[in-house]
Point group: D2
Chain length 383, copies 4
């Protein structure tokens, strides 16, 4: 069982959080549980920074440049996608380690620049592909490594949400200018691809994709993600996809497919995958992360998360007894704990770094190119 | 509730069955329940025809030409795909109505010829896309027609089996010469597409597909579908796909995708679809056909098959009280009952005819063309 | 795989059906599929007998005494419970074998008389505890016999319906005069207890029970089971239980409990059991009979019905390939097929006979006695 | 959405934790997230107290009497059941508010004494019946209050675990001397009854119960709950029940039943209930707390936890967006947050207090009396 503050002799890490929305709060709670001290917070405006700092019992950060003065050990970048580059650079300039929300950047070139910067300055730099921290995801991965599934036959799945089904729903994510040229795929498809490559050990080398804008107009402005305004008011033409479908082939020639949607009524956050091997299949559903289905020709096996059984990583990430359901919060806490441990110089398996953020930028770029050209395209190579 | 022998004043239909394998037996039982009299059966060889006829308490049919003498009212064609054309033509020549197993033919041109023949001779000619006869499939369709789902956002699903996962498994279906150039898609993908178009009201107009042969060599011969030999013996190179993925667009511009596999461990016959509308989503799983999931933003609804509730077609096809589970057998019985009723001149909704078999041939052809060319292709128009 | 007309050399059995309601129709279809010839049918009145005989293409039976003249090989007794005795006696007097609907009788003494009569006249006499014929029920039973579960820790479950939740719903089953002094428990609780004893190998020796009438008044009359009138009209005080709970102990000292209800909204025919052994647990849900859950401390196993795997009885009763869902109809067909095979002198495992019907009468009697006295009571011994 | 540190102007609460096992750690994390300052911890021995204090970055508490000196605002009592009385009294004597693990006491008289003491000293005194804090439990409760279910027909369920199935498993809970005369029922059955009464609004007035010891001998000693030793070593006769079944009647005459087990293989922490009303039924499964099933005659509804929909309490306790699964940790955090808010003088709905702990003692006592006498007994009245 993971101990969030593992090294009891080390002094607490001093952290700053840039971006105080829903996801910033998730970072803050995890940091708190991991024994960190919050030394500053920056929101969308100086006024809001002051208010949020008061609410979070910390100091306001008025501009990213202040980081140099504050000199935190770690900066959590939780701002809109298009600002990641500036904020990550400010953090590393201040010699801080960085956790940057995904997607790391809205283009390959920027993602590459940030990755190289972190590498040069020898900073721990991670991206919260937090679904890697579901204990049973690790269980499948450990069994893949052990050869339990055999050669892959097919890798498939979907990631479905419905928070943008309503024509009244919007967010900064919807506009290419703030969210980047891909929305549904970059936001959640990137999670699926990261998880697929992490668990299966395969790498997507080529793909063909199609995208769809099913809600052509949306309200001009919305401050908060995952919320709907009650009145549309002024609208603008949507320039990012609501749904995407991708067929891919991997380095070793395996066929796969994934479907991404933010307009599937009744689906809240349903990342789902099925990996079919020559001996068994594995199914994981992020909305029901406490069990996995392992299919075989004669019967299927249902594994329930349990610190008393299974692989070492499954046990390590199980912070509660079986049947006392863990979920998203524990993924995040374990991700932050492992990032902090890595900062303290301890080795951790499966930590998603800027390299993984860059990898993702390459896949997103390929999806955009394919959807525009209606052809198969190669995924360009990462570092 | 459907009464299988609805017109109690009519005299029993005289039927013949060509092909006495697993699916032939399913036809025979349904015919029996529908009050038909079996007047002849033909197996793979004259000797086997004699044996099967004795077992089925009927007369052997030694060659299709004998049908003219026997003059049955209906011929059930249950032979391997490549023989459908010859057997259907013999049946219609004998002036019989025909039920022909799917795929109707292994090419568009032959499918078209058979469809035209049936039309010219004014024969009732149906193809057992039997999943149309799950009562809850009709329930969704009826709600689609009533506008309950609104404009489609996304149409997706899969059809997964595992009976060809073992390299020792094979069947006449595996060889292009007997089964046709497409296997997994033609055999089961065709079911999915028929069901999707039947329920959603959409038509696939273009698609891009990729296929995969995951088991490169299989035993030379196997008599019986759904069975595995214990020893591989002599093998041959497989020339039909084990898996296929398809991205499609419909006439009204809706994006969709489907995944087909006969090599997914633990999946026996899992036809699954999710149709996402602007107001609700609908999910159907053929292996659990007694309930459907209707998703909405605020909550989901689970409908259980019930002759006391729901659409008229759902009620009509419910032959057992709720909770007394129906399944594949009742689909088949209802399909045969409706075909026979149509022969008796009664109108029936949703009967899959040779037109639907021809439609399927066009889609299969497009999948083959796209998979070979790695491009988007148009689905050619049916009659 | 069972062949319903197994002995292909025997001549068809001649059968008569007494009672032509919903369940009579289920008997008729099964008999038809098993190759029997229907020689007569009797409904609630002579007029209705004539009409039903015409609809079923057979002859009307005007009184039970006519059976002597008709001399059928088998009589299916599908009439209301209180008439079973008279009709079974008429059938056996006519030297017929008998299938009598459950409960066999509304008292121990009558059940015992009928059981002895069948025994004396050496007639095959069965009672449709058809859930024994779910293939996966046999799978569990076979594993119990093989010692896979170890000593039982706890035997529990429920049987829930909702067709009598509405105060407008009624049936001949509701009135003690026609249905017997116990309703919910005698009608469906008896199924659960039969299945529990059949599968687990345990025998209930003592119990304490409580019953409840939750709908105190119901309409005076309803012809058809499982239907609701739209208007209450004249009502009468209900004198049979809507729900029952039972705690029991078995011969070997195992504790168990079962809950029975016909007033649980949303539950249609949910017979459910969990048998917890010292090594594994087994769960079966009659509404989802194609899979079972076998729980273990480290993981659970899901078995799907499959003629290619599992115990010989599971395979024998699997009449369709895996994933082509079987259900209630196949249970009934297999029950009738096995009864007929037994009549032809062939041995069949697990056939529920009048002995089992008598056993059930003893348990029902104990439940009634306990619920009236609010004490633990012993189950009296069967033959 | 609940803000765990709601009153941002108040100074942090100073808390002490007595008992540093698995559940003590759960308390500590919740307290941390709620903004409290941990000022002391006491473990099973002074040496262990020193070690745990170091690990938890706090001071050791060597005897309960030290609380008077430390003067914490709140004491969390997480010690074995038999020590609750002494530790609660020490806490209240030190003028602290108290959170005491359940069962509050191992007898009615002690529970009553502690309840009265807290009342006299006007201390906030709560018991972690934390399942009350699952957002969807509140959703059902709110709909009960609104009359959505109508008059209850039947209240039933179970609470199944398997951590004591192995004859090698044990705990201080197993011995009556440390855990109290009832084990399975007092430990987990009490949770079920609390939840049933909390949600349904009913009160159990009489019951009949049976208990069973299925593992007659267990190892003499085990330090840690939920763990198994690899070797039995010396064993002793078990004097507390492994399983219990209860039939009950409520004040308004509703029939119900519940089954409790710690020896059901594959069940980890499966608290499950179904409450059947005259209009709808409600099902909750603690291991899958993110959805509930609301059954109706025509269809069922599945509600997913969602801060955007449903009752105010469901929304308030939803700390994460829909599909980002919450679980046990959030229940605990919300319980602690509400206790602390209550200490700060804010009103909170549904907080489980010592009154509820006392209520539970009365029910446990009735179960023990009934199981010993094999009769129906009345539940004695609480304060």
């Amino acid at each position: 069982m993971i101990n969030l503050e593992e090294n009891i002799n080390s002094k607490p890490l001093r952290i700053a959080i840039l971006g105080t929305g829903m996801i910033g709060e998730v970072h803050r709670r995890s940091a708190l549980l991991c024994g960190a001290t919050l030394v500053g917070a920056m929101a969308s405006t100086p006024e809001r920074s002051v208010e949020m700092a008061r609410r979070w019992h910390t100091e306001p950060i008025l501009t990213p440049a202040d980081l140099t003065t504050i000199a935190p050990d770690v900066v959590h970048v939780c701002t809109p996608n298009a600002m990641h580059a500036e904020h990550v650079e400010a953090a590393i300039t201040a010699n801080a380690h960085v956790i940057c929300e995904k997607p790391l950047a809205t283009s390959i070139s920027v993602a590459q620049r940030l990755t190289e910067l972190a590498h040069q300055r020898q900073r721990v730099a991670t991206v919260p592909y937090v679904y890697r921290f579901h204990p049973l995801v690790r269980e499948i991965r450990s069994r893949v490594t052990a050869g339990e599934f055999g050669r892959w036959q097919l890798l498939h799945g979907s990631y479905l949400q419905d928070w943008l089904l309503s024509p009244l729903a919007t967010s900064w994510r919807v506009e290419a200018a703030t969210g980047g040229p891909s929305r549904a795929f970059a936001d959640i498809g990137s999670h699926w691809c990261d998880l697929m490559e992490f668990v299966s050990g395969e790498r997507i080398t080529s793909l063909t994709a199609a995208t769809s804008i099913t809600v052509p107009e949306r309200p001009v402005k919305s401050e908060v993600s995952f919320q709907k305004s009650s009145d549309a008011g002024q609208t603008r033409k949507v320039d990012t996809e609501d749904a995407a479908t991708v067929i891919f082939k991997t380095r070793s020639g395996v066929l796969g497919s994934v479907l991404i949607s933010q307009v599937s009524a009744g689906r809240k956050n349903r990342l789902w995958f099925e990996f079919d091997g020559e001996r068994r299949s594995a199914v994981f559903d992020q909305e029901n992360p406490e069990t996995i289905w392992l299919g075989g020709e004669a019967s299927a096996e249902i594994l329930q998360r349990d610190p008393s059984y299974g692989s070492s990583e499954q046990r390590r990430l199980s912070t509660l007894p079986a049947g006392h359901s863990q979920g998203y919060a524990q993924c995040f806490e374990n991700f932050v704990a492992d990032t902090y441990a890595s900062i303290r110089g301890e080795a951790r398996e499966g930590l998603p770094t800027f390299n993984d953020g860059l990898r993702s930028a390459h896949i997103i770029d390929a999806v955009i190119r394919s959807a525009r050209s209606n052809t198969w395209v190669d995924v360009t190579a990462s570092l």
